[in-house]
Amino acid sequence: MSGDHIHAEPTNFFRKHVFSVDHKVIAKQFLWFGLVWLGIGGIMAMLIRWQLANPGDPVPVIGSFLFPRTGGVIDPATYNTLFTMHGTIMIFLGLTPLIIGCVGNWAIPLMIGARDMIFPLLNCLSFWTVFAGGCVGFYSLFVPLGATEAGWTGYPTLSTTVNGLGSGETLWAIAVFLIGASSIMGGINYMTTVIRLRAPGMTWGRLPLTVWGLFLTSALNVLFIPVIGSAMLLLIMDRVFGTTFFVPASIMQGGGGGDPILYQHLFWIFGHPEVYILILPAWGIIGDLLSFFARKPAFGYRAQVGAMTAVTVLSAVVYGHHMFTTGLSAMLGESFMLLTMIISVPAEILFFSWLHTIWRGNIRFTVPMLWSVGVIFVFGLGGLTGIYCATIGTDIFLHDTYFIVGHFHLTMAASALFAAFGAIVFFFPKMFGRMMSPLLGKLHFWLTIIPLVSVFCMMFVMGYAGMPRRYYDHTSMEFLASLQHMNKAATHMAFLLGSAQLIFVFNFIKSRWFGKPASTNPWEVGTLDWQTETPLPHYNFKDIPTVVTGPHEFSHPALPEGRDWISMTEELPSA
């Protein structure tokens, strides 16, 4: 047994389904976990939209159950809690578990030809740590002196005892810390696995782009999550032990003491890379999926890898663009503006590669393909509107307005969400042995992308019109009341978007147990994960495969008539 890395197949229920160390089970745990939190965060978004369109009206149907104290009305404190937790949940408990936890755990070992992650126990610990973080976060909603109200960014001094003594904020910080710890464990595991467990012949130049994206994300996780971890520790100490890291003495009493802006630096040193933590796997996934379904090699594979690596490096030095209005010195401001603009170069290379990947292909518009093209669309919108935010001359007006809300939802949230949906539908047949309904999938796609783009493009207009974000009620002053019609329209679209997700829930549940049985390689692609049996045996690969061909050799001229793909384990016929 000594050198045998593969753990034996568990026999009891707990070892098999609860505290499992098998990457396939952990991937499914992350999947369910992420979907449940996505649902909770989504309901919160709907409540936020309800309040914005109908300020002060009781929430219909579920209102009296959720907010019995106010008879179903969302009060300002609850509203602040809602958008704070919506952000925290969607980023840390919804998208991260789905696109990194689930896709990473599923795709990495299978795509590189390994039998499991390199540290299976650490993997199990990673899931249960994020689970604990989720529980703490959820519990924080119900503590007596009030839940968190300081926004997902948790800026002091609003997040310190200056604003309130509620333990909700402290619990929120603990939750973020735990979730961060989980991400670090995952990141270390992913990186070491990719470095050490690639099957023979699986060179760095043959690694599927999904794995590249996840690998780079892991590096960012390992390097930058500790920064927010420490910031959270300092915040907790300020709240619990009365230290003054972020609490300054008043100017009128001579100043001195802590510095609230220090927190903003620490938060965004992490926060900007966090954007790429979510977007890099998305880029990797669509880099692969576009090639798989256009039946063409990924255009400029090396260029894509290079661009993703460049973004990973650049992400560490641009964070100041979140702080242009805080009183950052002119020199720092200009440097951050310039550095941020440079990111558009690798981004441009990625767009160039994706668009050329589908150009002159033989495109199968399956559901994963639709989501991938959707990512190009929403990321294009989000990325381009980033120019307004990176340019100080426009950001000075647009900062902290709905323009920013529209921008980051399209860039980070929608892109990562679309890629996650694409990946779920794509990996579903291997995961559960059944196909998801393409009809419902397409309906879900169109009913998601159309309202989603409408909502967030509407927010660009609202922001340009000067509507600040995080306002409980825009009707209490004339200046904003004249913009209320846009709030109403956005809310209608948001409700449509929200209800469309029920199609996905139905499709997911129905297909999980009653879907059409899937063949071993329904998408006809060559990566190692699809060269296995369905259902997957406990050890994934009976013999570790030897890789001889790249992952994207679709429509190679040497392939025989009627076949446009080749397995990575097969030698290309010499033309």
Partner: protein
């Protein structure tokens, strides 16, 4: 069973027809129509009333047209293959790794062009704007500069004018809450801080905002060019009543303003209470 399959097939083919999808999209967009078509609504910002306001508008629309241009290219590059290169059994896709020297050159040229057109152009204008306008905070000695100290708190704006003696922190200072009166055509220079949490002074009509942080003093300025009343907002989340932390800016023509200031300063002396330490906040103007 057979009927079921047939119905599904029907549905699928109905769905795949472009007309269905287009009309569905249209129907969804029509959901927004009632709000969109009703009159008397605002669809953009109020006209700018500060001398650097045009710089924001110009830059905003320059970026907008650049973005519309680039995004159109992306959409066209998605639409053409989506229609032309749909799957046909038996057809083989164009085999191309995009790794040839020609492709590399093309990618380099395009990304360089993007950087020069999209970024460098915007960057140069933005730098000029910043240095000539937003960051060009007028010095105290400059003629005609009007200075105001701001103390933000949960949830109100406190403004302090020098009053008749030209010094901050004296009995004749003019104190205003949630209201600010300034002379038209003169540079108004602010220094501000906060009593409790971070707030952000946002005057949309003047096209600027600045955070006021506890423990530190930040400076910001603008020069009104049109007399009138404008909204002051708080743009940084500051707690329970963040959304109600608004005030009004009155820009008065200079003679009206001088009368107002003289009266207000006298009222300030009358209302001055040396016991009230809370109301005595002020600091020496920071150069």
């Amino acid at each position: 069973m057979k009927l079921h399959t047939k119905m599904m097939q029907r549905l699928t083919s109905l769905w795949t027809s472009g007309i269905t999808r287009a009309s569905l999209g249209l129907a969804i967009l029509c959901g927004m129509a009632p709000e969109a078509l009703a009159g008397g609504k605002r669809w953009g910002p109020v006209p700018f009333a500060s001398d650097f306001g045009y710089r924001f508008e110009d830059l905003f629309w320059l970026i907008t047209w650049l973005c519309v241009g680039s995004f159109s290219i992306v959409v066209i590059m998605i639409l053409i293959p989506s229609v032309r290169d749909r799957y046909k059994p038996g057809r083989k896709a164009h085999f191309d790794h995009g790794a040839s020297l020609k492709d590399k050159r093309l990618a380099t040229v395009i990304s360089a062009a993007t950087f020069l057109v999209l970024d460098a152009w915007v960057l140069v204008i933005a730098m000029t704007d910043l240095r000539e306008a937003w960051w060009n905070i007028p010095e105290s000695e400059e003629a005609g500069v009007y200075e105001v100290e701001v103390l933000a708190q949960q949830w109100a704006w406190n403004f302090r004018h020098k009053g008749a003696d030209g010094k901050f922190g004296t009995a004749d200072d003019i104190l205003q809450m949630n209201e600010l009166t300034v002379p038209n055509g003169r540079s108004v220079s602010f220094q501000g801080t906060s009593k409790d949490v971070i707030h952000s002074l946002f005057i949309p009509a003047m096209r600027f905002k600045k955070d006021f942080n506890p423990g530190d003093i930040n400076s910001v300025w603008f020069k009104p060019i049109t007399a009138g009343n404008y909204t002051i907002l708080c743009a940084e989340l500051c707690g329970y009543a963040h959304y109600q932390m608004f005030g009004e800016l009155h820009v008065l023509e200079s003679d009206t303003f001088d009368n107002w200031a003289a009266d207000a300063s006298e009222l300030g002396v009358a209302a001055y209470d040396s016991e009230d330490t809370e109301a005595r906040w002020a600091w020496d103007w920071k150069e």
